[in-house]
């Protein structure tokens, strides 16, 4: 391969990279769409997700302080993410299905 052809082919690789990059980044959900307040309110008002107050009434949250509550879309599913502080001072992230209120799992952050 001559040097000139090498550089030409190099530009072809650049073009492929740019086009695939643009295609991949094209359908990103806008920032905060997953925890956007308007969308959250809309979903709650339409009855598609349970209200946060209903979730907070769950018995497994007794005695825990809610530091942060987010409604997020994770892998196409609406999920409440709660950051909880227990009596021992440990911070714990827990996920709940936003439609049924079912617990999904947690992640200890300390």
């Amino acid at each position: 391969m001559s040097e000139k052809n090498g550089i030409r082919l190099s530009w072809v690789f650049v073009a492929v990279a740019v086009v695939s990059g643009a295609a991949l980044l094209y359908d990103i959900a806008p920032a905060g769409a997953s925890d956007d307040h308007d969308e959250a309110r809309e979903l709650r008002d339409s009855g598609e997700v349970m209200p946060l107050s209903g979730l907070l009434a769950r018995p497994e949250l007794d005695g825990l302080r809610v530091l942060e509550a987010d409604l997020e879309r994770k892998h196409g599913r609406m999920v409440y993410e709660l950051e909880l502080l227990d009596a021992a001072g440990r911070v714990d992230k827990r996920y709940f299905d936003a439609i049924s209120g079912e617990p999904l799992g947690n992640r200890v952050e300390d």
Partner: protein, 177 residues
């Protein structure tokens, strides 16, 4: 005849675009990890596409882009590292042996991070998540060593390697490998 101090194009356009895109999207993936899932995932896919293209380019690309040009055996690499410690390394027009292995390490580490990220799927825990976070952290460590190596080599040889990766040009020297 090889002319002394001749300006040559060492890094072709794709090598440069690849390098800086990787820098940008590794940063994007890192920052968006906990904040913006869809951006994090698409940045990861794009990094994998870039890696795939780079591997093909490493076989068919221009002279200094090829693995054959910069992956040296153990003896040469150890010898290079010794000469680096002594402060008298040889000047390479392309990647030096240590830099060459850094390229391989970064490609592998990022490939593991990308693939394990896909394999996490819906899980909030699990072995893939551990591997994903481990390889992402390893990549950061490699980046720190890489940048240190670039600074060190730039100082020793009195050339600006960061600029070379932007413009593609380096000055050829008569004693070059």
């Amino acid at each position: 005849m090889v002319l002394e101090n001749q300006k040559v194009l060492v890094w072709d356009p794709f090598v440069r675009v690849f390098h800086w895109s990787l820098v940008l999207f590794y940063l994007v993936a890192w920052v968006s990890a906990e904040e913006w899932a869809s951006l994090h995932e698409q940045a990861g896919y794009f990094i994998l596409v870039l890696l795939g293209l780079r591997i093909v380019w490493g076989v068919i690309g221009t002279q200094h882009a090829r693995f054959r040009d910069f992956v040296y055996g153990g003896t040469v690499t150890v010898g290079y590292l010794r000469s680096l410690r002594a402060g008298t390394p040889r000047h390479y027009l392309g990647h030096n042996p240590a830099g060459g292995w850094m390229v391989i390490a970064l490609l592998l580490s990022l490939a593991v991070a990308g693939v394990s990220g896909i394999l996490i799927g819906d899980a909030e825990h699990g072995v893939w998540k551990e591997i994903h976070e481990g390889s992402a952290n390893l990549t950061l460590l490699l980046v720190v060593v890489h940048v240190s190596g670039v600074v060190l080599a730039s100082l020793i040889h009195g050339e600006n390697l960061v600029r070379a990766m932007l413009t593609g040009h380096k000055m050829r020297r008569s004693e070059d490998v």
